[in-house]
Amino acid sequence: MKKNVYVIGWVLFVIFGFFFFTFILTSDKTFSKEENRTLTQKPKFTLTSFINNDYQKEYESYSSDQFTNRSFWMQIKTNTEKFLGVKKINGVYFGKNNMLISESASPSKDFINRRIENILKLKNKYNDKYLELLLIPNKIGIYKNDVDYNVDQEKLYNSFVDSLGNDIVKINTFDILNKHKNEKIFYDTDHHWTSLGAKYISDEFTKSNDKYDIYTSNDKFVGTLANKIAYYKNYDEINLYIPQNDIKLYVEYSDDKNIYTSLYKLDKQFSSSPYDIFLGGNHSTVSIKTSSKNERKLLILKDSYANCFVPFLTSYYSEITLVDPRYYFDDLDKLIKEKEVTDILLLYNMNTFFEDTSFDDLIDNIK
């Protein structure tokens, strides 16, 4: 005779009850290091917010944010989907050897036309100055054969450079990085390039082959892409390239009253975004005075790819000013005159370059 044993119902009841009690017994967290964001706190109950359903929505977001070990659950989900053959999760592709690759931006024709117009405007306005654009491919451009479907960044790059004309883009970054694609020119787990990648481009840019001492600042670096999908198979190393010369630096940030003598902020070394060790992350402006004998003064319009590029430039300019158009809302023309800028460098990775419009907004405001 078959006798049914009714266990599973009680087991499930205990599991559900267990999570109920973890909510009650554990205190709420305010910040998630993995997600790099503040977590929703318990909403205040008011009749109005309850009637509007705002309270309920907020409460669900609170319940979900305070669920125990979110990152662990997300890891299960990502690994399940990967097991089921899913090749792209939340815009992140799995490349070879667990390299994580973010999908490419795909700009519209209007976007590209506006960008070209603005760069030409910059060129004409400051035709007495040296102007160069370094457009850096992303992993998806260099390792395109490792993923199944994507926007072809190299095609995008070439057609953009073609329509811009040849005198603004002087270095084919694709060619250089492709030559070194078997080296660690990008982090496996992060969307940035490494200092090594930056060095290969800067060697070409400064037409030199300087010697550097290499220090590893963090050998357990877990980058943004790994955190985005909670996929922790690889670690990266953040290497700092310190020039073998005695150039002195005075670094000023727009959002910090202190003056620093280094390009590295060591307190970020093991923070939730360790890449911020380079210049402490993004700021509206950073101004770097150097003891270099070279008279030239450089302005860089940039995104965060420039942050690990600057260390390779310090002996070639007496002053380097970084402007991040996403946070900079002042008069650029005035700044250029004040700083007596002689060289302008636009340094962007393709994903930001073809997605973010703050560059255009900034140039639009120049008369």
Binding site: G9, F23, S63, M74, K77, G85, K88, S273, Y275
Partner: protein
Amino acid sequence: MSFNSITFCFKFLPLILFIYFFIPNKIKNAYLLVASLIFYAFGSAKDLGIMILLLIYNFFAVNKMNKLNNRYRKLKFLEIIFVNVFLLCYFKYYFLFLDFVTYNKEFSYKKFLLPLGFSFYIFSMLSYVFDVFRKKIPNETNIISFGLYITFFPKLLMGPIVRYEDFKKNIENHPFSSELFHNGFKRFIIGLAMKVMLANTFLTLTSSYQVNSMLGAWIIILAYAFQIYFDFAGYSNMAIGLSNLFGFQIEENFNYPYISKSVSEFWNRWHITLGKWFKDYIYIPLGGNRTSKLKMIRNLMIVWILTGMWHGASYNFIIWGLYFGIIVVLEKTVFKNLLKNVPSFLRIILTFILVSIGWIFFFNNDIEKIMIHLKYAFDFNNKIDTEALFLIKNYYLIFIIGFIGSMPIFDKIGTILYEKHFVLYNILTNIAIILLTILSISYMISGSYTSFLYFNF
């Protein structure tokens, strides 16, 4: 609060269930009624008032109706029907009507939304009113029992649409049963997994791709078919499972619709309780198929237009209803004899294709989008695009799982195992359920897992 929210699963449900076990039997129904109202308020607090008012109105009006005779009884009946139907139409179609009369004119107005679950709510109510009027059942004199019938939270928002006759037995007697509790929890997990693992994954697929080729059009059609099945059948599983936890047994709503051999059969297997509602309260009172063939066609078309309209207040749902109406009429008339000679598996495939094409009308609320999708679906000059190929590479296993999950394959294997290897059957199902629980939680959490990346660029 949806069943697949963290708040429901790990706060509301354990708490409600735990208390339920310890309160005296006498107050269990009242307790469930209060719990259901709290559940509703957590979904949409502003609509709670109208729902309760309507409930009280119907309760007293029906009792009053039953005290009247003949003509007055009928008048009272018409009044109740009018109030319910009017409110449903008002909330549901007022803006469709406004859109229609102000077409191409400058006119703006503030939209209000249909109260949460209103269509299901009114249909339960109407079924009770009809049945009492036809003296199929006596009127309910206990407002708690009536209130619980209407608001019982497992079925409140999305059905199944239960008849009072069937529900009444549960209200009177729903003792704790190990078997029901055990099966109910199992079913809840299966439903949850269908919703969060499959339906949501197919949703990600359909919303990530703009149809751009014939292949792409059919991938999306297939994904629609699985998405809505796992969404709705998953929800019904959760609803039935939850009812069982409290000792209630309610009607099935799905019975493997995608193995139907005709579209008519499909509608006997898909959202079964809605189909029955239309059959019992519209089709048969209109005369059904008992009079002339022409009248039968008329009746079928009325039912199908109403079915379409019931699903939503935009034109695409009317088209969707008409589409099925026409197919069902053709099946019952022109092709009746022809279909008998077609092999079963061909009929299953044909039915699946017809139903799937129907989902295009269901998912796109814009005529233009529907036309574009249909154009691509039959565009033999533009067969493949690379993005669609990527979708296949990316999701082929998920599609296979979707296919297996919507067929009675596991059921069949389960029955054989149960008969022949009982112990193995128990071990396997329990492991599977625990695994599904863990996976479902991880999928639920992932929905809100967002790592902020932008500021790092």
